[in-house]
């Protein structure tokens, strides 16, 4: 890897970790990320296999900031193509979703098969001896760019780098097991939500690796006397610290511990009771007693279980200062009507209007606004001891430190 394209001094405080705010604002950093992370040897999440159930079904999405098409070919195989015509660069698929037996660019009607192979070029032989492509024109050299694809329990990943390590090695044991736990049964699509955030995508990557903020920023549970930060939980990473799993198990906290923990914290307030607690009526689904999992997979996926809500969140970076977050909520194909109703009601908790998630939109934006012109200032990340280590609790920022180690390794940002 060549040296980093510009100067990005990485401060080293005596303890903890410091992140220069330039990583959230500099367009140069964004450009290098596109090359080294999103077009580099990593797997990006592109969708659920159930989103394209039949041959010819497609949806358009992004890998990094690059538009791509996820589709199912005639044999049922999943294919991911860069959504850019080999002629003069137009979007080949202009719809969000659809079904097509081949792909046709509207600009000059170059057509491709579902593997992106160029099938036809109008007027290739000219009209009445005039025009036409040169004699040495080789259609096989003008296919759509095809990405490498892998699917794990219905989650589809793609990589621009055909030499990338196999998906399961990339994800590692912890992530593979966590995906299997939530997705090994056939999935049922419930719907999408799209949230546009005016902040750098890595602010959200930090946010979902940050259990410290959970009970301090998201006050819904504490306000209604429903949340216990002293719940048993853990913060775990894969060996390369790319991916993080946060989880909690319910019902291991006591009222006395809560009173201590929340002393002088604005969030301890049980004056309020839900008028209609049916919102939280749920079913135990997993024998392990885990009620919350936030699995952050580098670079662009969050897989979550919050009570009975299940969702993938796909990060689509737009530019240095904005990204789109696509929430796709799902259940299981064999859910009964009551389970459907539970998931749809609990969906009030999550998404862009979610009782326990809307604040993340605000958090991302207030950081971006404040760091826009921060010069060489930096953050300070040390809760939990200041090292990228697993923790048997949630009072830690260790996974954020792990993320930045992984990000620097991927970007080639040297230790300074």
């Amino acid at each position: 890897m060549t040296a980093f394209a510009f100067d990005l001094p990485w401060p080293r405080p005596a303890s903890g970790c410091a992140v220069p705010y330039a990583v959230f604002t500099a367009q140069e950093v964004f450009a290098v990320e596109q090359a080294r992370i999103f077009r580099g040897p990593h797997w990006s999440f592109v969708g659920l296999a159930v989103e394209v159930p039949a041959p010819g079904d497609f949806k358009t999405t992004y890998v990094g900031a690059v538009p791509v098409i996820l589709l199912r070919d005639r044999d049922g195989e999943l294919v991911v193509l860069e959504n850019r015509c080999a002629h003069r660069g137009a979007l080949v698929c202009r719809e969000l979703r659809g079904r097509q037996s081949r792909l046709a660019c509207v600009y000059h009607q170059w057509t491709y098969d579902l593997h992106g192979r160029l099938l036809g070029v109008p007027f290739r032989g000219g009209i009445e001896g005039r025009g036409g492509m040169p004699a040495d024109f080789d259609p096989a050299a003008h296919n759509l760019n095809r990405l490498r694809v892998a699917c794990l329990h219905g989650l589809v990943f793609a990589s621009f780098d055909h030499d990338v390590e196999p998906l399961e090695d990339y994800l590692g044991e912890m992530v593979v097991a966590s995906i299997a736990r939530l997705c090994a049964r056939p999935l049922k699509l419930l719907g999408d939500q799209r949230q546009f955030m005016r902040g750098n995508w890595k602010l959200y990557a930090e946010n979902t690796r940050d259990p410290y903020h959970a009970s301090l920023l998201h006050l819904f549970h504490t306000t209604f006397g429903l949340y216990r930060s002293s719940q048993q939980g853990a913060t775990l990473m894969d060996p390369r610290h790319r991916h993080t799993m946060l989880y909690t198990k319910a019902a291991t906290s006591s009222a006395t511990v809560d009173a201590e923990v929340y002393q002088d914290v604005r969030s301890y307030d049980t004056r309020f009771k839900l008028a209609d607690p049916s919102l939280l009526a749920g079913r135990k689904e997993f024998d392990d007693g885990i009620t919350l999992v936030i699995l952050s997979v580098f670079p662009n996926l969050v897989l979550q279980q919050i009570a009975n809500t299940l969702a993938v969140r796909q990060l689509c970076p737009r530019d240095a200062a904005s990204f789109e977050l696509v929430w796709t909520q799902f259940g299981y194909a064999d859910d009964d009507a009551e389970m459907d109703a539970i998931r749809l009601k609990q969906a009030n908790l999550i998404g862009p209007a979610g009782f326990v998630s809307m604040e993340d939109g605000e958090a991302v934006e207030i950081v971006q606004r404040a760091v826009a012109e921060a010069g060489d200032a930096h953050s300070y990340v040390a809760m939990g001891g200041g090292r990228a280590e697993d923790a048997a609790h949630l009072v830690t920022e260790s996974a954020i430190i792990g993320f930045w180690e992984a990000w620097r390794a991927a970007m080639g940002v040297p230790e300074s």
Partner: protein, 162 residues
């Protein structure tokens, strides 16, 4: 009230008045009064059109009781954290699709302009209201209100109801 006993003009007037009171209530930030626009058992849903068109059931907000609406307001006032903003709803093209003795089904268009803390305004949400209106406990209320938004990329977050 027997809706069939009203003239078409009277029905149209009643429905448009209800819609006007509803959006003024939200836009004046009188959210505590907002649940009163609904019957005790109700169906209030905010749904992305991209889901509705695919027949997918996910709603961004879904409340099936006035209690859930009240909880949303208490949460917005006391728990949730979001930036200061103001809405202005414009509602128009109000069509009465069905008139029964005890219920009117109406569809209208809405647009919400949102102004944020720094005085920046934008078109925040555009879509349709599908309303089932009944006369209940002395006033017109929504038995069902389905808000289907075309603008499926929600800007930042959705706190105040539509």
């Amino acid at each position: 009230m027997d809706f069939l006993a009203l003239s078409p003009l009277e029905r149209q007037y009643e429905v448009e008045q209800l819609l006007a009171r509803y959006v003024h209530c939200i836009d004046d930030d009188r959210l505590e009064a907002w649940p009163e626009f609904f019957t005790r058992r109700c169906d209030y849903r905010i749904v992305a059109r991209e889901n509705a068109e695919r027949g997918l059931p996910l709603a961004t907000i879904a409340c099936d009781s006035r209690g859930m609406l009240e909880d949303r307001v208490v949460s917005l006032r006391n728990a949730n954290i979001y930036g200061w903003h103001r809405y202005r709803h414009l509602v128009g093209s109000v069509l009465l699709l069905e008139v029964h003795a005890e219920e009117i089904v109406a569809r209208s268009h809405y647009a919400v302009f949102r102004t944020r803390g720094e005085g920046v305004g934008e078109t925040y949400s555009v879509g349709t209201y599908d309303d089932h209106i009944v006369f209940d406990e002395g006033q017109l209320r929504f038995r069902a209100k389905l808000v289907t938004y075309d603008t499926h990329r929600i800007d930042s977050l959705l706190a105040t109801p539509l």
